[in-house]
Subunit: 184 residues, 6 copies
C-alpha cells in the first residue's frame, strides 16, 4: 500500500472522497493513502454520513490535516475496521512520538476532552474510501476542539508521514498474519 | 456479541482454541468472547502459529488472563483486524481505567518495554478464533515479561469485564457504522 | 433486525426502494423492515425489474400493504433467498392466523388463483433492498387480483406486525443456526 | 442443479453428510440433491448439530425419506436459507399435491402438531451440506411424530421427485432473479 | 452461460458496456457473451479505464469484432481473471483453427508485433462487464495494428462463435472443477 | 507473490499439496509458488481429485518438473481460474522462449497430441493450493506422454523461473487491473 504527503494546500469539501481521486490526481494506482493540509468544509449535500445529514451537522474546520485512503476489493465492515486502525495509529503516533495523551472513542479522538478529529468510511462499487481530518486550527468548528497547533515540536509533514508509514506497514502485516496460521 | 468471565481457574493449552469450545462449555451460541485465569502452556503440537512452530517457540506463562473469542461467517483478514482491535482495547482500558502506559506493536503489548501479551487469530471452516493472554504472573516465561500483578488496584474480573464490554460494544458499533453511509 | 408499522397512508412509487430510505425517514439504522398502506404506482422509469421494463409492465394497485426491507453487507443471491422467505412468511401468517389457503409460486402469492402480491429484490452498493406489496383494494390492477379486503377479521396493522415479527425472528434464527454446527 | 431418487434402501447414519458423498457414490458432480428411503440413526458422535450434542439428543426413526444436498462455493448463512427453502418446498408439495396441512416452524415441519421432520445444514471447506429426513414409519422416534405413511395415495418416489424438481427449479430461478434487476 | 452473434453492424461507443445491455437488447438473462461487428470509437468521457483517461488515450478502430460479456455475482479480481481467459481463448482459436501465431501480453494480443486487440473489465453494482475488440480494419487506429482482415479464410461470424463456445464451455468447466476436489 | 526454484531433487507424493508446506519448508510466508524436479507418484489415498479417485487413476511419472502454489484468502473458483492461468503461462513460455507448439485443453497441455502435464487446484480452510507437474522423463506414465527432455536447449531451472516470474508478475498485474476502472 502506497502513501504520499501532498505538499500543497488543498481544501477538503467531501468531493475528494471519490473512487480513483488519488489515482487520477497523484498517479498512485491501487491501495493508497494520501495526506494534505487545508480548510475542511463539507456541506450536507456532500456528506456520506447519513447520520450527520439527519442531524443536520455539516463539518467545518479552518485548517485540518486530512487523510484520504482508498482500498479495493474489500467489504465495508472490514473497511470500518481499517478506519478504526487508522484512528488508533494516529493516537499511538501522538503518544509514542510526541508524548501527547489521546483518548479514542470509536472513530473519534480527544485531547483533554476536546475533539481532535472527524472521520468516515464508505464504499464505492469496488473500493472502500476513508477520510480522517485532524484539526490544526479549529477556528469556526461547531464543537470545542483540540488542535495539532498546540502540540509542541510537531511538524505536520513529518507527523503525517509517520502515521501513514505505521498504518500501511501494519495493514501489510495484518494481511500477512492471515497467512501464517493452521486452520482449526 | 456475548461475553462471559469464567469464575474458575482453567489451564490454557491451545486445545481450547477450537470451534464451538465456548458454545459446548458455556452454552453461549454465536459470536462470543470469554475470559478466564490460569496457567498458559502451549506445546508446539497445539500451536496454530506456524511462525512460532518454525522458530520452535512454545508458549509458557505461570498465570495468565486469557481471552478466547469466536466469530462466525467472516474471513481471516477481517479476523486479524478484529484481533488488533482487541489488543487496542486492552491497551486503552489499561490507560483509561488504570493509568498504565502501554505500547502496542501489532498484536503485542508492552509495559516499560516488557512484553505483556501473547495473541493469535486463526480460522476454522466457519469461524474466526482469537486467543489473547496477558501475564498475571509470568514466572517461567521465555522472555522478559510485564505482569498485571504489578498494576495497582486491578481486580482481574473487573478488568476483564471492562475489556469485553468495550470490545463487544465497539464491534457492534462497527457493524452499525457500515450501515449509515451513502455509497460513492 | 428492527421493524415498524408506519401509521400513515403513503403512496409507493418505487422511489422508496432506495438505500437508507428507512433510516432517513424513520431513524431506524441497520437491517430493518417497515410496512405501510397506500396506493402503489410504479412507472417503468422507476422499476428495478428489467424483465418488467422489457415486457412494458408497470405496476398499479389502488391500495396495497407495502413492505420495504433493507439489509446490509450481503449479496443479492442471499437477498433473493431472504425475499422468498418474506413471501413464505406472508403465506404462513395468512394460513396460521387467518385460515386462508395461499399458493406460492416463486415470489408470487395467489389466493383462489388470483394474484395477491408484487415483489422485487435488488442491490445498492452496500445493501439489499426488498419491496413486497399485497393488494388491499386492487381496483385498477392490470391482472385479476386477490385482495386482503376479502379476508375476514384481518386488521392490516396487526397482520403486518405478525409478518414482520415472524420474519425478523426467523432471520435472526437463521444467522444463529449458522453458528451451531460442526464443519464436515 | 441435479437430482436423483436412489432406488435402494439405505440407512442414514450421519456419515453420509460428507463432501462429495453424492459425487463419489452416484457420479453426480456439482450442486445436487438425492433422496432415499431407510432407517435413520445418528449417534451423538456423528452429529453436526452441536445444540443436539449439548442436549444429548441423538436421532432415531425406523424409516425415513432422506434428502441429502450439497451445494458448492456458498457461505453457511446462505446455506441455511436454502435449507429453509427445502423445508418450505416439502410443505408446499404436501399441501398442493396431497392436500395435507403442514405447519413450518424454522426447519421443522408438523402435521397435526406432530413432528414430521429432522433437518440440519452445515459447511465443509468448499460446500454446504443439507440433510432433511421425513418420517415414513416413526416407530422408536424420541418425540410424538407424524408419518408420511398416514398420507393417502402418497408414492414415496413420486413425492420425493416432486420435491426435488420444485426445489432445484426454484434455486435456479433464484440465481436468475439476482441477474434481472437494476442496482439502486 | 449463453452466447449470441449479433448479425447486424453496431458501433461500439463504450455506452454498451453497461449492466443489462445484453438482457435489455437481446433478451438473454443471466451470464452471457455477445459479439458484433462495427466501428469502435470510445471517447474519454465514456472510458472506464482510468489509466487511459489519465494518459488521454481514446480508442478508435474503423471496424472491430467486439465482444461484450456480463457475469453476475462475482468480484472484479475474478472478473479480470475471466477477461484474461477470454483473451487466451481468442489467441488459442486463432492458433488452433487458423494457424496464426499470436502473442499475449496481459490483456493485449499481438500478431507480428502489431496490436490486434483492446480490452477492459469493470464492475457494476452486481456484475462484472468485459469488452474486448479485435481489429478487422484498423484504419485510423492510434497504434500500428494487426487486423483480422489479413487472416485467410476467416469468417467473422464463425470465428466469433468458435471463441464464444470455447469460452463459455471452459467457464462452465472451471466452476465444475471447483466442485470435484477434496479439501486439504 | 514470491517464487523459488528448489535446487534439490524431491519426490512429489501429493502430501506436499498442503497448507503452509511452502512456508514450513522454505520460510516463504504468504502467496508463493515453488518449483522442483523429482519423481511424481500420487496414490489414490493422497489424491484430492475425486474424479481421478472415482476413475481409479493414480498418477505416475518417473521425473517431473513440479510447481506448487499456495494463495490465501480467495475462493476456489478464483483458484481454478488462477490454475488455468498457470497452465496458459507454461504454454506461452514454451512457445515464446523455446518455439514449441503447445495445445491447451482446460488444465491439460499437449505437445504433438501427447500429454505433457497433470494439474489440480484445491482448497484448504484459508488458502487455495495448486499442483502442476510437467513430464521431464515420463517412463511409466499411464498415458502416451510428452516430455520436456525432448525440448532442445531447455534448462529446467531457467525454464521454471521464467514461468514463475511471468506468472507472479501477471497475478500482481491482474489485482492491479481491478483497481483502475470506473464502476458502471
Amino acid at each position: 500500500m502506497k502513501h504520499l504527503f501532498i505538499d500543497k494546500n488543498l481544501k477538503y469539501s467531501g468531493l475528494e472522497l471519490a473512487p480513483h481521486w488519488i489515482y487520477k490526481n497523484y498517479k498512485m494506482q491501487g491501495d493508497a493513502i494520501v495526506a494534505f493540509v487545508g480548510e475542511c468544509e463539507v456541506h450536507l449535500t456532500e456528506m456520506v454520513d447519513v447520520e450527520d445529514v439527519i442531524n443536520n451537522e455539516p463539518i467545518y474546520s479552518k485548517c485540518m490535516l486530512n487523510f484520504i485512503a482508498e482500498m479495493f476489493n474489500i467489504g465495508l465492515v472490514e473497511g470500518v475496521l481499517r478506519q478504526r486502525l487508522l484512528i488508533t495509529t494516529i493516537k499511538e503516533v501522538l503518544e509514542n512520538d510526541y508524548g501527547i495523551k489521546v483518548v479514542r472513542n470509536g472513530d473519534d479522538l480527544f485531547i483533554n476532552d476536546k475533539k481532535l478529529s472527524v472521520s468516515i468510511a464508505t464504499k464505492s462499487i469496488n473500493s472502500v474510501l476513508i477520510h480522517t481530518g485532524l484539526n490544526i486550527d479549529a477556528t469556526g468548528a461547531p464543537v470545542d476542539a483540540a488542535e495539532l497547533n498546540s502540540v509542541k515540536a510537531l511538524d505536520i509533514k513529518d507527523f503525517a508521514n509517520k502515521i501513514m508509514i505505521r498504518y500501511t506497514d501494519e495493514l501489510d502485516d495484518i494481511v500477512l498474519a492471515s497467512t501464517k496460521v493452521s486452520g482449526r
